[in-house]
């Protein structure tokens, strides 16, 4: 038998039963009927195994009244018939005319419907009319016993409706559970009700109704006693029914249960069909033993199932909410990161010189093309005196605000006037000492090429901290030279020495300073631009003014990579020595 809401079952089956009883009546089926309705002990005692055989009676008002009596009781039946009759007087034994019959039939159906529902009422009246006699009577006597269980099922229906209301009224599972427990307490006159939920780690949380008039400690005590059995319940998925605590106490440890006067109790697993229980609904009664009948347990299990559904849904909603929040967080993080990169770029741009110095005898140009959200290149010119120019090109290893700030710090240190007295090697040494701690802390390093050009002597003095050596193309020659000097990148050792070199420049010489973004620019075929290509292009561009040479390189790189988007910053300084 399928455990379905009792009333629907009742309606459907009352029709079915009526029909089947009329067609194939047997005592066996009467027995089945009783079992089917799951009547309690009390009911079984009251329901007479109707052997009474009556003579067929003609259709009279009285017989209708008797019919009604069986379902709504004598007083109400009399009232109903009287209200139907109104002023008319038809004696109880009076036959009903064919004229009258349809009206009376309708009226009876209506009256009965209020008690058993329209479909059942109709079936009952139809069968009453179609078959009068012993069989019908015995059927109806059995049906009378249906009335008691109808009362029960009416109550069950009410509880089901109320619980559906409760469950659908809010997503707050705490409220649902409290209200549900209150409902059970009040409707079934229980003394203690509780819901215990068990999470995946095996931790229990308890919910109690707020209208319970029992000491919280007492309830705790009860819980402790029953908990081991409740744990088993989670595994088995079957309700634990104790209709006589004293009996159970003979084989189980239940001192508190007994001392608190609990007579019967039940623990119902809270689970959806076919799933593992997520908790237990516990009910205790101090008023009667045997409270937890089969139907009651079915009702409670069905409520527990509804609760399980509500809990699962609440869980799913919570999980979705968490997911949404995580997504939002990730998006936000991304936005913040983008913003940081923008700021880093802005800082970096602000460090670069606006324009190259104009000095006699030297054509200078410099440019940095930043890659989006990447920063790290720096170049600068310091005109120390009208005869002396310092220039440098550098690359910090990271791409972040931190890297830009380190670069800003470096620039501040380099701009100090006392550097005018120092040689490139001394400047790099000093810079390394001053930046070592910050670079270690931020886990960055800097490569830098620093040069000083004396316009009178045309001497270029330089030192190199692990940076790409600039390329010089001498006038009239196609041979390339690298301007290199030995020196470690800045930030690796606390204090190091840098080699210094010097070279004399002549009119017509061209020098290109660059960062690795240029040589490492990669084509679609995974080929780097490279130093060789850089040199061959210099041959091509040597006659152009310095700034045009730089433009030409950017074009060449764009053609090489096949896109406008850059993988890294590309910085270039070009100097050309000319007649002053």
């Amino acid at each position: 038998m399928d455990p379905q809401p009792l009333l629907t079952l009742l309606l459907n089956s009352s029709i079915y039963i009526v029909v089947s009883l009329i067609t194939t009546q047997s005592d066996n089926e009467q027995e089945q009927l009783r079992k089917f309705f799951g009547s309690t002990e009390q009911e079984r005692r009251h329901a007479q195994p109707s052997e009474a055989k009556r003579l067929s009676k003609p259709l009279t008002i009285g017989s209708f009244q008797s019919l009604l009596t069986k379902f709504i009781g004598e007083d109400d039946a009399v009232k109903a018939i009287n209200s139907y009759l109104g002023d008319r007087k038809i004696p109880g034994e009076g036959k009903i005319s064919e004229f009258e019959l349809p009206n009376l039939k309708r009226f009876t159906e209506k009256t009965l419907a209020a008690s058993v529902g329209a479909a059942a009422a109709s079936a009952i009246v139809d069968s009453f009319l179609s078959d009068m006699g012993t069989r019908m009577e015995s059927v109806f006597n059995v049906f009378s016993s249906v009335k008691t269980s109808l009362d029960q099922s009416r109550e069950a229906l009410y509880v089901r409706l109320k619980s559906s209301e409760i469950i659908n009224s809010t997503l707050d599972t705490q409220i649902i559970m409290a209200d549900l427990l209150n409902l059970l307490l009040s409707e079934f006159k229980l003394d203690i009700t509780q819901i215990s939920l068990c999470d995946t780690q095996g931790h229990w949380t308890e919910s109690s109704p707020d209208k319970m008039e029992v000491d919280a400690n007492a309830v705790k005590g009860l819980n402790k006693e029953w908990q081991p059995y409740c744990r088993e319940l989670i595994g088995s998925g079957l309700p634990l029914i104790c209709n006589d605590t004293q009996l159970f106490a003979e084989s189980m440890e239940l001192p508190r249960t007994i001392s608190q006067g609990i007579l019967s109790c039940a623990h119902i697993p809270i689970s959806r069909a076919g799933e593992k229980p997520v908790g237990v609904m516990s009910l205790y009664s101090k008023s009667i033993k045997g409270m937890f009948t089969k139907e009651f347990i079915e009702l409670l299990s069905s409520l527990a199932g509804q609760l399980a559904q509500a809990l699962v849904i609440a869980q799913e909603i919570e999980a979705k909410e968490q997911e949404r929040l995580q997504k939002e967080k990730a998006i936000l993080k991304n936005v913040v990161m983008q913003k940081e990169m923008e700021i880093a770029q802005q800082i970096q741009t602000s460090l670069l010189p606006e324009k190259a110095p104009q000095l006699p005898g030297i054509d200078i140009a410099g440019h940095c093309k930043s890659a989006t959200h990447v920063g790290g290149d720096y170049y600068d010119f310091f005109v120390r005196t009208q005869d002396n120019l310092d220039l440098l090109i550098a690359d910090v290893s990271g791409h972040s605000i931190g890297a830009s700030l380190i670069m800003a710090e470096a620039r501040t240190l380099l701009k100090q006037p006392d550097h005018a007295a120092r040689t490139p090697a001394e400047i790099l040494k000093s810079l390394n000492i001053q930046l070592y701690e910050d670079l270690t802390r931020t886990e960055l390093f800097i490569s830098m090429f620093y040069a000083n050009y004396n316009l009178s002597s045309k001497m270029l003095t330089y030192a190199n901290a692990g940076h790409n050596p600039p390329i010089i193309l001498r006038k009239g020659s196609s041979r390339f030279e690298k301007l290199d000097a030995d020196g470690l990148i800045i930030g690796v050792m606390p204090d190091i020495d840098f080699e210094q070199q010097e070279v004399e420049l002549h009119t017509g010489d061209v020098i290109i300073f660059y960062t690795d973004g240029l040589t490492e620019a990669t084509s679609a075929e995974d080929e780097q631009f490279g130093v060789e290509r850089l040199c061959s292009h210099l041959l091509e561009y040597r006659a152009l003014p310095a700034s045009r040479i730089i433009d030409a390189y950017y074009d060449a790189i764009a053609r090489h990579t096949g896109s406008d988007e850059q993988q890294d910053d590309i910085s270039i300084i070009v100097i050309k020595i000319s007649e002053p």
């Binding site: 990271g398 791409h399 270690t440 886990e443 692990g466 470690l488 930030g491």
Partner: protein, 111 residues
């Protein structure tokens, strides 16, 4: 990132089984390396024989690993450098800072 870790009596070997050590995976590499230092390892050998390309981020984490080892009185050695990686080390002069070996075994023998 593909990293194979081998424990020997002298040092932990980290085989970098990636073609590139750059901005995309250098953070992850750093975290892994630091976790070994934190769990008490003092000597680490980093084998780069699969690494074709290294950029400044990659160099940066090797440098910070080197400094980390120094502060713990430990060592960080490198082995199996391919040509591009080697030239990066020479350009930055880091080849004089790190002990660089042709093979892992050579590195292990150095202890």
């Amino acid at each position: 990132m593909n990293l194979k870790i081998e424990n020997t009596s002298n040092a932990i070997i980290m085989f970098v089984q990636e073609e590139r050590l750059d901005a995309h995976n250098s953070d992850e590499f750093k975290k892994n390396m630091n976790s070994h230092f934190e769990s008490g390892q003092k000597n680490i050998i980093i084998d780069l024989k699969d690494v074709r390309f290294i950029d400044s981020s990659g160099l940066g984490v090797l440098v910070s690993g080197f400094k980390n080892a120094s502060t713990r009185q430990g060592t960080l050695k490198l082995s199996g450098l391919q040509s591009q990686v080697k030239s990066m080390f020479e350009l930055t002069r880091l080849h004089r800072v790190f002990e660089i070996f042709a093979t892992v075994d050579d590195a292990l023998d150095s202890y």
